[in-house]
């Protein structure tokens, strides 16, 4: 009798107690699942090349070596790739901010003819990946004589990332009470001044998210760069690193050392905006 009354409660307490251990253990498994490949990458980058292609492969290196990192970092071509990636990502991000902030503010706050048409155009943009249009992009930049230039990459990365930045920023602009702007207008601030001085500081999380997303997208872009850039010195990292492993050479340790240099900064950036991700997804991508 007493047992049947207390049993469920004890079971509940048992689960509550177990939860404290089961959930973190589950968490460790999830971490292991998602990080395992990148751990393989790191450990392969930290051993001599001959050991990467051992049969059978080993998870832990038997000899540790920083040679791969040293030769990658010291290589002039790699330095070009890194510089190209930085130039393209920073320039594309700057353009997106300059172009998307006024557009987001204006569409969030003013009604005008063609508003729906403009927003419709932006939605359609968001659906097109450069990949599906790559033949068209190639034709365009061929006609403009921009094949083999970073300009072509910058323009492409900027144009295809406007949509996402615009949605995120628009969501943040809309959430600001309009009384704030009305007060600014009474104080005699022009529309542009109001946006820069009053509104923009209030949308900082949105701005940071938009900037980070654009930067990462441009940094990671592959197919357009693969198509438009033939000059070894002008390749960005994503395309460049592939030349460590081809039909003729198999420098896996160097490939992975270079890859880690390429992914660690963006992973850190992404982790920094992690808490904004969900807000960004609901107001941005999901919109």
């Amino acid at each position: 009798m007493t047992a049947s009354v207390t049993a469920p409660r004890r079971r509940l307490r048992g689960w509550k107690g177990a939860r404290r251990f089961v959930l973190p253990v589950g968490g460790l498994l999830v971490i292991a699942f998602f990080l395992f490949p990148y751990a393989v990458m790191l450990l392969d980058a930290l051993r001599p090349d001959s050991q990467v292609l051992a049969t059978p492969p080993t998870f832990w290196p038997s000899t540790w070596s920083l040679d791969a990192f040293a030769s990658v970092v010291g290589n002039e071509t790699f330095q070009h790739w890194l510089r190209n990636s930085l130039v393209v990502a920073f320039a594309a991000t700057a353009i997106v901010v300059v172009v998307a902030v006024p557009a987001a503010y204006f569409t969030a706050r003013f009604s005008f003819r063609g508003r729906i048409l403009f927003l419709g155009l932006v939605v359609v943009t968001q659906m097109f990946a450069p990949t599906s249009l790559v033949v068209g992009l190639y034709r365009e930049f061929y006609e403009l004589k921009l094949i083999n230039t970073l300009t072509a990459l910058i323009l492409t990365d900027a144009a295809f990332n406007i949509a996402f930045a615009l949605w995120i920023l628009q969501g943040f602009f809309r959430a600001i009470p309009r009384e704030i702007e009305e007060a600014a207008a009474i104080d005699g601030a022009g529309r542009f001044g109001t946006m820069i001085r009053i509104m923009l500081p209030l949308t900082r999380p949105g701005l940071v998210t938009a900037i980070t997303f654009t930067f990462i997208a441009a940094w990671n872009e592959y197919v357009v760069a693969l198509t438009l850039i033939q000059d070894e010195q002008l390749k960005p990292l994503t395309v460049g690193v592939s030349s460590y492993v081809t039909q003729y050479v198999q420098n896996w340790a160097q490939l992975f050392a270079a890859s880690l240099i390429a992914i660690v900064p963006v992973v850190v950036l992404f982790a920094l905006i992690e808490k904004h991700l969900m807000g960004g997804l609901t107001s941005g991508a999901v919109k």
């Binding site: 034709r139 406007i162 395309v239």
Partner: protein
């Protein structure tokens, strides 16, 4: 074309949120730069794609003349097309479906409070943040017949008796690529669902627990229906992303000849840039075909989003 929420949203914001109206000239001033970039680098390539699809090109990419509908005829009657379309259906269908199921579970797990949750969320982000081409290169080595850690791991666990040629054996190439596709699609999708889960008010669950509903009943009866909008959006967005996905197939299938494992996207790419005849016109026709497919997906997406806005309003 209808735009998400603007039909209802514009009217709503027109009344409550906008602080004024603006003339076309002022609108042009504010939107001009964005408009120029979008028209110049997104819309123009669409036009260039369509015009190229009606042209005949030399191997070096010079336009030789009009081809009429020849490129389309050649593309649609190609012997490789049925196989390529089949691959695309399998690739998109399998990746989206498996991603969806696993992401639902992962999102549910990540919504719980526990020590170290922050770190787990950071770990989940990594495949999302890392360049796809780099993750693909990494899996190319991990799947390797001789030197890959995956064979080693499965042999050690006794799951396989002898090494498998994951990327070389046609039977395993597509499943291996699908596995990588799922691996990189889960983070975004799980975060999308996590956002959906966070949007469900706690009192809904409290009411259910007072009614004595079991965990599984709560999940199927309350959580899943309330997640419906997030799930629909997850399906449509992933369909578009996975359809357009290039690096995984390009890298993992890179050393296999022919079009046996190609999807419409990599097939199109090879026609223009890697095949012996560098046929820009034919590739452009394939590109138009792909763009039309994506347009259909966009239409479906917009319908879902509109449906969601109406529900919310």
């Amino acid at each position: 074309m209808r735009v998400p929420g603007t039909q209802a949203g514009a009217r709503r914001s027109g009344r409550r949120r906008s602080i004024g109206t603006a003339g076309p000239l002022e609108a042009l001033l504010w939107l001009g730069p964005a408009l120029v970039l979008i028209l110049g680098v997104v819309v123009y390539p669409v036009i260039a794609l369509v015009t190229s699809s009606f042209g005949e090109f030399s191997i070096t990419g010079l336009r030789k003349g009009d081809a009429g509908l020849d490129n389309y005829a050649k593309f649609l009657t190609s012997d490789d097309l049925p196989k390529v379309i089949g691959n695309t259906v399998v690739w998109v269908g399998a990746v989206v479906l498996i991603t969806l199921v696993l992401s639902l579970g992962l999102a549910q797990f990540l919504s719980k409070e526990f020590i170290g949750r922050r770190v787990v969320r950071w770990a989940v982000i990594v495949p999302w943040a890392a360049a796809l081409v780099i993750t693909s290169q990494l899996f190319r080595l991990m799947f390797d017949y001789y030197h890959g850690i995956i064979n080693q791991l499965l042999l050690g666990l006794g799951l396989i008796r002898e090494p498998v040629d994951w990327l070389g054996n046609p039977q395993f190439t597509m499943p291996s690529m699908i596995a990588v596709g799922v691996f990189v699609s889960i983070p975004f999708t799980a975060y999308l669902f996590l956002a959906g889960l966070n949007g469900i008010p706690d009192d809904v669950y409290e009411a259910a627990s007072i009614d004595g509903a079991r965990a599984w009943q709560v999940y199927t009866g309350i959580t899943l229906p309330l997640l419906r909008p997030a799930i629909l959006i997850g399906i449509v967005l992933n369909m578009i992303y996975v359809f357009n996905s290039f690096p995984i197939i390009w890298i993992l299938n890179g050393s296999n000849p022919g079009y046996g494992n190609d999807t419409l996207i990599t097939y199109m790419y090879k026609l223009a840039f890697r095949s012996a005849d560098h046929d820009v016109g034919l590739s452009a026709a394939a590109g138009v075909f792909n763009v039309l497919l994506i347009m259909i997906a966009v239409a479906v997406y917009l319908r879902f989003v509109n449906w969601r806005e109406e529900k919310r309003a």
